[in-house]
Amino acid sequence: MNGESVLHDEVVEARAPWSHVVEPGCTLRIVDLEGNQAVDCILYNADDTAERYSAPDTIVAQGNVFLVAGSELLSNEGRPMMTITATSCERHDTIGGACSRESNALRYGFHTRHEHACVDNFLLAHSGRGMGKRDMTSNINWFMNVPVEADGTLGIVDGISSPGLTVDLRAHMRVLAVISNCPQINNPCNAFNPTPIRVVISR
């Protein structure tokens, strides 16, 4: 990102939420500092948050479930919100959703019900912006690996990221990006060890 002016540069603690507006033409870079850290992410039109990222619209438009360099991230109204202009991680997930305390209980047992989870991070981030549970929708899982087998079996398996890998997202509208630096410890999405990430917004 040489020659560009950095507008915001922050390390997001392990397990923490983060949100920021990315202006049109600006680029949000997410850095997987220590490797294999899932970064759950929802995008909203900052001027009308009823328009938000749509995993179905995005995967249908590109005809593939994996997000890669060049993928256009579409809203629920079918409009481009951001483009993946570059990424050093082979692919990213958008069908695996966000972990929640309620779904963790189903997946791993009731002993996980009081563990921290991405949905709680999103709800906390929303609570400071006049948003709430009705604003929860499909999300992206940067650096997360969710293959689908021939018989439809799908699941989160060992990551394909490594320390320092990045994804760059250029905004096509005023985007409110909301991130949960995933706290999951019951599956390999964070290599069983949630770690910090770095977020950089530049013009």
Binding site: P56, V60, N76, R79, E102, S103, R107, G132, T137, G155
Partner: protein, 293 residues
């Protein structure tokens, strides 16, 4: 000869003209009362007593219908001519901020494809609808709904007023009648049109899995708001707006209980039923095995 125009020049003749229309019948309309539906039998083939009938509707291309159903209700979708595409959203009627979560549905059950035995899970780890029967086999939990922009590009128009209504705006209209809005539209499931994921992640449309009369049988495990549109699947390769009529039938029945094999079919599902039961206990008149509220 063109028939003479009706005399609607006064309130009295206009009223007479309006009332004369009441006995008309069209291909796509509800049966009211639902008890007048003819020949409805349950999954076991046993005729459903008329007093148990809750809903009987037939929606044509681009239409929608919605209803609040009690816990335990049986809901049948019928692909009348073998070319319907039921776009379905479902909410907990007791607290509609709880709604279908397709990502949790496929992730929790370790399965991308819906079929008999699948549970449609809420974002609160509970079962909204369970799929008890399926004679089609090709459905979709990944591809979502059409929107105005997409249908305008593909068909030349996409408005609900046009011949090519988009599913998203159909959902918005139907949800508004239940006090919900555009923020409440989440990714939906589609029945009778399917999709498969190739090893490289590519999506392949499966449009020929259904046949005339194919059914999907669902069970309301909570009191639910069900919203259904009948619009072409977003990956349907046909350039024209092709979708066949969809019949929706519902009647009172019992929710899944611990006596059912479905309750115990998978550990994730069993915990989902337990969390559902936990919620039902707090409802007025709630009982884990009862058919109320």
């Amino acid at each position: 000869m063109v028939p003479p125009p009706p005399d609607t020049s006064t309130t009295f003749t206009a009223r007479e003209h309006a009332r004369a229309q009441g006995t008309r019948r069209v291909d796509h309309q509800p049966t009211v009362p639902a008890a007048d539906a003819v020949g409805v039998a349950d999954e076991a083939g046993v005729p459903v007593a008329t007093e148990r009938m809750l809903w009987d509707d037939k929606i044509g291309p681009g239409g929608d219908s919605s209803r609040v159903l009690p816990r335990g209700a049986a809901l049948r979708l019928t692909d009348v001519d073998g070319d319907a595409c039921a776009n379905l959203l479902v909410y907990n009627a007791a607290q509609p901020q709880e709604r279908l979560n397709v990502a949790d549905t496929v992730k929790v059950q370790w399965q991308a494809y819906l079929g008999a035995g699948s549970l449609l899970l809420s974002d609160m780890g509970r079962v909204l609808l369970s799929i008890t029967g399926d004679t089609c086999g090709t459905h979709d939990a990944l591809c979502g709904a059409s929107n105005q922009l997409r249908n305008s590009r593909k068909y030349g128009n996409g408005g609900v007023h046009s011949a090519y209504p988009n599913a998203r705006d159909r959902f918005a209209v139907a949800l508004a009648k239940h006090g919900l809005g555009r923020r409440d539209i989440v990714p939906n499931v589609n029945f009778f049109k399917g999709v498969r994921v190739e090893p490289d992640g590519a999506l392949t449309f499966v449009g020929d899995g259904s046949q005339p009369g194919a059914t999907v049988e669902l069970r309301a495990e909570l009191p639910v708001i069900v919203v259904i549109a009948n619009t072409p699947h977003v990956l349907d390769p046909r350039p024209t707006y092709d979708v066949g009529p969809l019949r929706i039938t519902a009647w009172t029945d019992a929710p899944t209980t611990r006596d059912d094999a479905r309750w115990h079919a998978a550990p994730e599902g069993e915990r989902a039923f337990l969390q559902t039961e936990e919620f039902v206990l707090t409802l007025d008149g709630g009982s884990p095995s009862g058919t109320s509220p």
